[in-house]
């Protein structure tokens, strides 16, 4: 298996594409950052609030906003920037406080609710929320702000999806086709392990590659947040609802849980691309052809999603059955689902994962059948 990885990672094309991808990500991040980083960077007065805890900062921010005026029309152009930043900070503080229940009275109430809760899910949820509260007591508003940025990077769709697919397809397309291009297939197929053994080795190597890449991609996001926004690593244990994007999330998840879920889903998507590449390689022996075919096939679901983003019925079907949709976790995490599995409302999410895994298994089985078909010495 290690040699399969070696074969893949020793290709110059992969490193060139990886380098270009990193560059593209940095450029996209810089573009996004210019809008987000406004908060607290220009005004010393507003920047000071980031050093307070959300509970301390909230009344100060509200008083400041009152002084500036209640609506955009009251604001003159010189104060407009401060007003915008303060509004953002106020929402951030409110979300953080409500998500992490940083009010002793609320916690007391939660303990009471937990004892009287009528479902296992509600009891587990409350117990988890109390645990989170105990962890995030000393966090500052700046921490919440950096986590917002971290989430923004993790939730990035569009270009980030295409870049992720680009690297995956570049990395995986030579997995099988390289043997034909180099002419090694003759030697390998006639070895003891034969086609079947080689297929297994390649799939295991490919999976390891996919998991590694999904992990590095997620870790890279974390590094970017840490480097540019000084993200506090302890903030990973804050409630996901601290972010405006996940305000309505019904699950008691932390930012770390969310990052791990994103990593896992990226690995699932990577496994699907691997299976697709394996199947395409059975018919196309050239690396470029495999790259183009598998790339286009994997990109189609994203294009369809983009095309029907304003059609709720199509979006619902895609969220349930879509493959690339798995990396838009906010689709699954921000709304309650009516289907309960073992006391958790995770039906829709599980259905999507199951669909992708089944499709991956089907593609792999088909690829295996095609790949090994000539080793059987058929007699007519």
């Amino acid at each position: 298996m290690i040699y399969e990885l070696k074969k893949l990672f020793q290709r110059k094309e992969l490193w060139i594409v990886l380098g270009l991808t990193l560059l593209a990500i940095l450029l996209l991040v810089l573009r996004d950052r210019s809008s987000l980083a406004d908060a607290g960077s220009n005004s010393q007065k507003t920047a000071a609030y980031y050093d307070y805890s959300p509970e301390e900062a909230l009344p100060l921010i509200e008083r400041e906003l009152e002084q500036l005026g209640s609506s955009a029309s009251d604001i003159n152009s010189s104060h407009y920037h401060d007003w915008r930043v303060l509004y953002h900070m106020r929402d951030l503080a409110k979300d953080f406080i409500s998500a992490n229940k940083n009010d002793p009275n609320v916690i007391r109430q939660m303990y009471n609710e937990m004892n009287t809760a009528d479902s296992d899910f509600a009891r587990r949820d409350l117990a988890h929320a109390i645990k989170l509260y105990n962890r995030v007591r000393n966090y500052k508003l700046a921490d919440a702000s950096s986590m917002e940025y971290f989430l923004l990077l993790l939730e990035q769709g569009g270009y980030f999806h295409y870049l992720y697919l680009l690297v995956l397809c570049t990395m995986l397309s030579p997995l099988f086709s390289a043997e034909y291009e180099s002419g090694m297939y003759q030697i390998l197929f006639s070895s003891k392990k034969g086609k079947a053994g080689l297929f297994r080795k390649k799939i295991c190597g490919g999976l390891l590659c996919v998991v590694l890449f999904a992990f590095l991609y997620t870790a890279f996001t974390f590094l970017l947040s840490w480097f540019w926004h000084g993200m506090n690593i302890r903030m990973l244990s804050a409630a996901l609802q601290s972010s405006a994007l996940f305000r309505n999330c019904p699950y008691a998840l932390t930012f770390l849980d969310y990052a791990l879920l994103v990593f896992a889903m990226r690995a699932v998507i990577g496994a699907f691309v691997l299976a697709l590449t394996a199947l395409v390689s059975c018919f196309c022996k050239k690396n470029v052809t495999v790259f183009v075919f598998s790339g286009i096939t994997a990109a189609v679901p994203i294009l369809i999603a983009k095309l029907f983003e304003n059609v709720p019925a199509v979006q619902t079907v895609q969220n349930r059955l879509g493959i690339m949709q798995l990396s838009y976790l906010s689709n699954y995490l921000t709304e309650y689902n009516t289907v309960n599995v073992f006391g958790f409302p995770i039906g829709q999410f599980l259905l999507s994962v199951l669909c992708t895994c089944l499709l991956t298994a089907f593609l792999l089985s088909a690829a295996y059948a095609f790949w090994t078909r000539d080793t059987r010495h058929r007699r007519i």
Binding site: Y3, K6, K7, Q10, R11, A178, E181, S182, G183, M184, Q186, I187, L188, F189, S190, S191, K192, K193, G194, G197, L198, D374, T375, R376, H377, R378, R379, I380
Partner: protein, 288 residues
């Protein structure tokens, strides 16, 4: 013993191998035939790269299709132009092949080093294959084919790209191995097999024309090989008239060597046949 029974391979209407039947024991068997004769098809079926349309191959009485990986475990295959991974070192490739051939890790390392030494590549064991010359690749190809101590060694044009010294070394090595194993040696270079082959298999249009030892084949050619010393115009005329002819140097003069059943020229003298003459005689126009 390796037995080919009525082995047939068809691609649509084209018959690449036509009821090919032969028995092979230990020793070197040279496969001779023009391009498209069916040699590669026969070897590809033997190593399991393609399936026969009809017929079977038996090893010690067992159908190899039923032996599956047990059969692959006893063969070593060196294809015509072994294309290796250019970024792998020679040692990487040997270790990888040892793994693919199911050799335990503890034995693999020693075996890899020993084989690289036997093909004179010890000094280059950590060099990238991309930097290897054609001859070095051929030698590495042989080393990987031998890594599992094969009982059947299949060599497809193994000496292509080797210099004379390497060629002799290669021949000696194969000769030493052939005492215990069956070597199927496919080549166009007649001199490579002239001194080491136990028997020659002559294949044409997918059919086995003849299987015989070299002396026997050469003996049959007695009285069919001629040499003439004509003038310049005569040379061109003879080469045109007899496609199975070649130019040779005799006493600072150019002679025409002709393979023909009857005396081609009044001045022609009969001469001692060689294996190359057998090849020209059997494959006629195709050989040229």
């Amino acid at each position: 013993m390796l037995q080919f029974k009525e082995l047939t391979k068809q691609y649509g209407n084209f018959t690449a191998l036509d009821r090919f039947t032969v028995d092979l024991e230990s020793g070197i068997y040279a496969l001779l035939g023009p391009n498209g004769a069916g040699k590669s098809t026969m070897m590809n079926i033997l190593v399991g790269l393609i399936a026969p349309t009809n017929g079977c191959i038996y090893y010690d009485g067992t159908d190899i299709s039923k032996m599956d990986d047990k059969f692959r475990d006893i063969i070593g295959y060196m294809p015509q132009y072994p294309g290796f991974y250019p970024n792998f070192t020679a040692m990487d490739l040997m270790r990888y092949m040892a793994q693919m051939k199911g050799i335990p890790r503890k034995d693999a390392e020693k075996r890899c080093l020993k084989l690289l030494e036997s093909v004179n590549l010890t000094e280059k064991k950590d060099a990238k294959i991309g930097s290897f010359s054609g001859g070095m690749r051929q030698r590495l190809g042989l080393a990987q084919a031998l890594i599992n101590d094969p009982k059947i060694l299949i060599l497809d044009e193994p000496t292509a790209g080797l210099d004379p010294k390497e060629r002799v070394r290669f021949r000696n090595m194969v000769r030493r191995l052939s005492d215990q194993i069956t070597v199927i040696f496919c080549t166009h270079i007649v001199s490579d097999i002239e001194t080491i082959a136990k028997e020659i298999l002559l294949i044409h249009h997918g059919k086995l024309l003849k299987k015989a030892a070299i002396p026997e084949l050469v003996e049959e050619m007695q009285g069919k090989v001629w040499e003439v010393l004509p003038d310049q115009d005569g040379i061109e005329h003879l080469l045109d008239e007899y496609p199975r002819s070649s130019l040779v140097s005799r006493n600072m003069q150019t002679a025409v060597r002709i393979v023909n059943d009857t005396k081609p020229h009044p001045d022609a003298v009969s001469c001692k046949p060689l294996l190359e003459d057998v090849y020209l005689y059997m494959f006629g126009d195709d050989a040229s």
